[in-house]
């Protein structure tokens, strides 16, 4: 449980330093400028090629948007990166390590954590319990430690730390008043916040957000964006899959456009906006 060297003096007035005490980030990755590198990624479902040779790199501390029309292969790409699907070809590297085809928990363990398109809360657990599941490598996750009397004391100490962190993170996202509410009673937007908050407690280096703004009302969308920007300023890297082109264009410094399983183009929002292919893809023309 080494403390985190990378914390880039948190902005926004929220004290996040205590938040990082349980961090277990690997040493090697911290210096890599390109945390995520995808090359030649392929995925077939039966005869359909969902992802066809996708290649891109994500810069450290950046916010990248992945857009494309329905069925472009965005979510499949996501799933292949995070281990939900096993890619049929290609290579995914995270912090210089090959993570192709690893199980989702192994990918998450390396600091690459995803959220889901439809917020998936752990319904019959309270918001606080949802949060407390997330921190990695908890001592009390070992069966014997949670049962044996003496060992349980050390579990309790760590539980106290985790509890404090969970409360702080809930406060950061302004959902601390819901802490003891069952997650299934939350509104759609609150679930999105919970999911992002929960993902943060795993001490990720990079977050993959799958349509974080879908079904979220404009004021909450504003809040979510604020949080994401704040976190980005603290050094987190983001890759966001989104349907809403304008939202991505306004908030990301780099945009990747997918169409029919391939990368159509990538670049700054300006470049992409003026790209003929993109316009055609979105307006339904043949490419």
């Amino acid at each position: 449980m080494s403390s985190e060297p990378e914390t880039s003096g948190g902005t926004g007035g929220v004290d996040e330093t205590d938040d990082r005490t349980l961090t277990t980030l690997g040493g090697a990755g911290d210096t890599a400028e390109v945390p995520l590198k995808v090359s030649g990624l392929e995925k077939h479902f039966g005869g359909i090629t969902a992802v066809d040779g996708v290649e891109f790199e994500i810069d450290k501390g950046s916010m990248t948007g992945l857009i494309g029309p329905n069925g472009a292969g965005k979510s499949t790409t996501f799933n292949c990166i995070t281990g939900t699907h096993k890619p049929d070809g290609g290579r995914v590297e995270f912090n210089g390590q090959d993570i192709t085809g690893l199980e989702p928990y192994q990918v998450a363990d390396r600091g690459l954590v995803r959220t889901f398109q439809i917020a998936r809360e752990l319904g019959e657990m309270t918001v606080l319990e949802n949060m407390m599941v997330a921190p990695k490598h908890q001592r009390g996750e070992a069966l014997w430690r949670s049962v044996l009397p003496y060992a349980r004391n050390s579990v309790n100490q760590q539980e106290q730390e985790i509890l404090e962190r969970a409360w702080e993170t809930l406060e950061f996202f302004d959902i601390d008043h819901l802490a003891n509410e069952y997650a299934e009673n939350l509104s759609g937007g609150q679930r999105k916040l919970l999911e992002l908050a929960r993902a943060l407690l795993t001490d990720p280096q990079m977050l993959l957000l799958d349509e974080p703004f879908a079904g979220v009302n404009p004021s909450l969308e504003e809040r979510l964006l604020e949080h994401i920007h704040e976190l980005r300023d603290q050094g987190y890297t983001f890759l966001i899959v989104e349907h809403d082109m304008d939202l991505i264009m306004e908030n990301c410094e780099k945009v990747i456009v997918m169409h029919q399983g391939r990368i159509l183009t990538e670049g700054t929002p300006e470049d992409v906006r003026n790209n003929e292919d993109v316009i055609e893809a979105y307006l339904g023309g043949e490419v």
Partner: protein, 472 residues
């Protein structure tokens, strides 16, 4: 009897009112459980005393009741770890029980030829405690074998695998080719259809003799606790009330009391597992395995651990349940027992440990032992009347307005009607109270109280809450 039960349910007021109370004070679950147990015993005693049930019979019944409450509560707790916490749909419980008790029997039975009948197979003649540990471990191993392929499948496939496994176990026990063999000089086997005679030392006696060891050392005697205290004082005292052969009654009682203590141990262990980061991950798996996996938890590993531990505990329950019955035959272990335990868990409320115990108690008292006791009591009160032997003979007098033969016939068939009653209770429960009596799932998924921390108060209060009894 079923009236008593619905009465008990009414007494708990509505879910909302209760939830508010529970939110503040979790100990109410425990209180409710104790009240319920007390109520059950009072009903049993009153019913027996009012009607003038003979003392010996009454004592026997109370001992039996305690036995059933303990075994069903323990089995429900083990199942709660699978289903209530992890969401693993295990309907092969009885297979793990059979494995436990058979392995214990084979390990601890006297060696073949040392006085056993020629037709019987022998055992390894190991001390009983080794047999019990061996049986428990064997049940856990069987769980592991089932878990490795099956837990990768979806929940309903696990159900198929487990029920099939329990039948495979039963048919293996029945099989002739495994019934007896020469292994390393010992003639051992599963006994085929004849089953296995469990002629190891009486578990109660060996326990008391083992506990006696320190006293023996001081007093320089052999089995002081058993000979002088148990036989000399306790049994002698009871002989004042039951002059004729009191020992079996006392044995029955004492063994049930031991089971209650073990039940206490079960409860503490399973609650500790549940109220911890380990239990939290199990709960998370129950809610959404993919999410838990995406949060960096090796969900397969957690599921295997939960499954194996639960199976081992089921094996132990099997040993405690069937190990004192003198012998076991394969056909005792039909899936019916599995479903009894499921009913007990559903009554109590899956996901709640106190609910599991309560479900076990209610099932044992009102659905399992209750109807038989009821029949006993009524028959004693009526002076053991002759019941009609067929449905026709029972129905014929009804047309003349005489319903007594019909009622007697019904009473006589109460064992068959029991299953029907269980079905009715299950259906009513599913409609009215799918969460069971205490299935509100408010057991905290942490080893510490989840209140808002008062910035860094130090570790002192954390240690204080570790008592295990205080934090619910």
């Amino acid at each position: 009897m079923s009236d008593d039960e619905s009465g008990g349910e009414y007494g708990q007021s509505t879910e909302e009112q209760r939830a508010v109370v529970m939110g503040i004070d979790f100990r109410n679950d425990g209180l409710m459980l104790l009240t319920m147990l007390l109520g059950i015993y009072i009903i049993y005693l009153l019913a027996g005393l009012v009607i003038g049930f003979p003392f010996r019979g009454l004592m026997n019944q109370i001992g039996q009741l305690t036995f059933w409450i303990a075994v069903f509560a323990m089995a429900s707790l083990a199942l709660n770890l699978h289903w209530g916490y992890t969401g693993l749909f295990n309907i092969g419980i009885v297979g793990f029980m059979a494995t436990g008790v058979y392995v214990t029997g084979i390990l601890s039975k006297p060696v073949f030829g040392s006085g056993t009948s020629a037709a019987e197979i022998g055992g390894f003649g190991l001390p009983l405690w080794i047999g019990i540990i061996g049986g428990t471990v064997a049940a856990g191993l069987l769980g592991l074998i089932a878990a490795l392929p099956a837990l990768r499948l979806r929940a309903d496939y696990l159900a198929i695998v487990t029920i099939a496994l329990s039948e495979i176990v039963r048919f293996s026990l029945l099989s002739d080719s495994l019934s007896g063999h020469e292994i390393a000089g010992y003639r051992v086997g599963l006994g085929g259809g004849d089953g296995v005679i469990l002629d190891y030392q009486d578990p109660l006696e060996s326990l008391i003799r083992a506990l006696s060891a320190p006293f023996d050392l001081i007093l320089g005697e052999q089995g002081w606790l058993w000979n002088d205290v148990y036989l000399g004082i306790v049994v002698d005292f009871v002989a004042n009330f039951i002059p004729n052969n009191p020992k079996p009654v006392v044995d029955n009682f004492a063994y049930s009391a031991v089971l209650l203590l073990i039940l206490g141990g079960f409860y503490v262990v399973i609650r500790r597992m549940g109220n911890s980061p380990f239990g939290r991950v199990l709960k998370a798996i129950r809610e959404d395995e993919d999410v838990t996996n995406a949060l960096g938890k090796n969900t397969n590993m957690f599921k295997i651990k939960s499954f194996v531990v639960g199976c081992a505990l089921m094996g132990l329950v099997g040993i405690l349940w069937f190990g004192t019955q003198g012998s076991v035959t394969p056909n005792t272990f039909r899936p019916r027992i599995t479903f009894y335990i499921w009913i007990a868990l559903i009554i109590g409320g899956a996901g709640s440990n106190s609910g599991s115990v309560m479900g076990g108690a209610v099932f044992a008292a009102f659905l399992f032992q209750g109807p038989r006791y009821f029949k006993n009591v009524i028959e004693t009160a009526l002076g053991n009347p002759e019941a009609p032997s067929s449905f026709g003979q029972a129905m014929l007098p009804v047309s003349n307005g005489d319903v007594v033969p019909f009622l007697l016939y019904t009473l006589d068939s109460i064992r068959q009607l029991q299953l029907f009653m269980m079905g009715v209770v299950l259906i009513v429960l599913m409609h009215r109270r799918p969460d069971g009596m205490l299935g509100h799932r408010k057991e905290p998924a942490s080893s510490i109280p989840l209140t808002r921390p008062i910035k860094r108060s130090g570790g002192g209060d954390t240690v204080a809450t570790d008592g295990g009894e205080t934090d619910e």
